[in-house]
């Protein structure tokens, strides 16, 4: 992931500026759209519409600001409109329960001998599957913060929610993915090492 050049001469034509600042993020927008839609064909449609809207609204973009964040916001809106559904809401008070829940998953992994699960060779596909099977809105929060490396504030802006909501959604997503990883290890009968040694 290489960011496009940051300089943005004011004398540049709008099309040249668009080509220079927006188009280099096509891969990132596609990955984000694919994460949202979970369907390659739908993702293509969302990406095309995202760049069309971005082009039509290019005059509203502040030169030199975070173009990827701006495109992600448009992409998210295109996706939501394509579903014609309202944003779900999450109970903000649940974040702490999710943190402790993740601790219980970890203790269970240790007790059952899966303490080194994350170092096993086949765990990445399981993580990817678990993330992509997450229900919204947890999936978007994890994708933006944990995969696309957006800070909480940027993710909040893109999704149009308070930062505290990003934290809640992120923590719920992480806990759910870790629960699914544990279930994957149990189902797949992955190699266990010294069960209960860390009790």
């Amino acid at each position: 992931m290489t960011p496009p050049p940051a300089d943005h001469p004011s004398s540049q034509s709008p099309d040249a500026a668009f080509e220079r600042e927006a188009l280099p993020w096509l891969d990132d927008v596609y990955r984000f759209a694919l994460s949202l839609t979970r369907d390659a064909s739908d993702a293509d449609d969302v990406v095309q519409e995202t760049f069309l809207r971005a082009y039509r609204s290019w005059h509203t973009y502040t030169p030199g600001s975070d173009c990827r964040r701006w495109l992600f916001t448009i992409c998210r809106n295109v996706f939501l409109r394509s579903l014609e559904r309202e944003r779900p809401t999450v109970d903000l008070e649940d974040a702490e329960r999710d943190v402790v829940g993740a601790g219980r998953v970890y203790v269970t992994m240790l007790q059952e001998g899966y303490g080194d699960l994350l170092s096993q060779v086949d765990v990445l596909p399981a993580i990817e599957r678990a993330v992509h099977e997450l229900p919204e809105p947890f999936r978007s929060a994890m994708i933006l913060v944990d995969i696309e490396d957006q800070p909480y504030e940027a993710a909040a802006e893109i999704l149009g929610v308070p930062i505290g909501t990003i934290r809640s959604r992120l923590f719920r997503g992480r806990r759910l993915v870790q629960e699914r990883l544990l279930a994957h290890a149990q189902d797949a009968g992955l190699a266990r090492r010294n069960p209960k040694e860390n009790e």
């Binding site: 188009l23 596609y30 993740a102 994350l118």
Partner: protein
Amino acid sequence: MSLAQIPPLPPECLEVLNHVWDYLDGQLNDETTERLRAHIAECRQCFEYKTFQENFCDAVHSLAERPGASPGLRARVLDSLRHEGFAG
């Protein structure tokens, strides 16, 4: 799924349990960050738990290396933009 109960923890370990993700995400103030850092440095269980969560977040982040847009999509986007008047 049946999960194990977390045994009673000293307050310092409980703070790590409750804030490990805030700690890793850089969301804590300097004082709290330093307090957790100092405890994690001297507590093997908390160090291992922090390392587990760190490895988990690193593993999830590695998914960013997935393939990007296909050449066909790139051409399709450019075509639609040119249809709008894009001169690039």
